[in-house]
């Protein structure tokens, strides 16, 4: 089994999941729109009415976001992205998040949502792709 250090050599910040296929990369065609940090943090604010999550951007995952933020340079831009990625036999995922762009280079990314796309979109709604894909730190 690969350990976390080995995984990190394959994967960028907020690591997508090692799956035996090509490492996930955000492509220029995946970029949707440029977005400011303040706008991201406003739209990703978690506010549970029962108080069962921290009221902060990305909730329990705020520390992961802070780590991503710390890696930003002054001239970096953040872009909302949506990508499709094959993770196994007949398994495709949609991944949404924020990409760090510097000039024409996509430097790293922060994934917010991972949704498995059904084989037959007419038969069911998407299921989640994360079964067994996470890697514990």
């Amino acid at each position: 089994m690969l350990d976390q250090k080995a995984l990190e050599t394959f994967q960028p910040v907020n690591k997508p999941f090692f799956d035996g296929h090509a490492p996930f990369r955000v492509k220029p065609s995946d970029l949707i729109k440029s977005i400011e940090i303040s706008a991201i943090e406003a739209r990703e604010m978690v506010d549970d009415p029962l108080g069962n999550a921290p009221k902060q951007p990305f909730g329990f995952l705020n520390s992961v976001w802070q780590h991503f933020r710390e890696g930003l340079k002054d001239d970096d831009k953040l872009w909302l992205f949506k990508s499709h990625h094959q993770v196994g036999w007949f398994v495709n995922e949609m991944r949404l998040g924020y990409a760090r762009v510097n000039g024409s280079e996509i430097e790293s990314h922060f994934i917010v949502q991972v949704i498995e796309l059904p084989r037959d979109v007419d038969k069911q709604i998407p299921t989640n792709a994360m079964r067994g894909k996470g890697k514990r730190k």
């Binding site: 978690v46 029962l50 999550a53 917010v112 299921t127 989640n128």
Partner: protein
């Protein structure tokens, strides 16, 4: 591969098995959990069993039982310090599949058994957006129900 102990969900007063592992999404997005004993059982490679509940159209983790690497069992407070009673699964997007009715086909592999119906509940950031019932067919006489399957592995 040995069939894996499912996560559980309290729904309509019953405990049912889940085909998905929502906490793996959390781990995959970078969330940290305590170190778990990977060798708890071949029927539980992930090292924990969580119990989930939908309250006011939101998905919550209400209980977890895990075998920690340094010995002993871990609970929700060990996984989410400061939240020992309930955790809002805001990270979860996609669907949960809850088998219903009797078993049509049995497979001793990961989540391959088929039941008469599947309740598919779709979530966006932990909030229910859609529920549909998928009908898979009729079970033979004497087939068992998903709850029996969900309950077979007790941590």
């Amino acid at each position: 591969m040995t069939a894996q102990a499912p996560e559980r969900i309290l729904i309509n007063g019953d405990t049912q098995g889940l085909s998905e592992w929502p906490l793996e999404t959390y781990i995959g997005l970078g969330g940290q959990l305590p170190e778990l004993n990977d060798f708890w059982s071949s029927a539980n490679r992930r090292g924990y069993v969580g119990t989930w509940q939908i309250i006011d159209e939101r998905l919550y983790l209400i209980k977890i039982r895990a075998f920690l690497k340094d010995g002993g069992f871990g609970n929700l407070g060990d996984f989410f310090p400061g939240y020992p009673d309930r955790v809002f699964a805001h990270w979860y997007c996609g669907a949960l599949t809850i088998p219903e009715g009797k078993e049509i086909e049995h497979e001793n592999s990961e989540f391959q058994a088929k039941y008469e119906r599947d309740r598919l509940i779709q979530f966006e950031n932990g909030v229910v957006t859609k529920t549909i019932i998928r009908h898979n067919g009729e079970a033979p006489e004497g087939a068992h129900d998903p709850f029996q399957v969900a309950a077979w592995w007790q941590p």
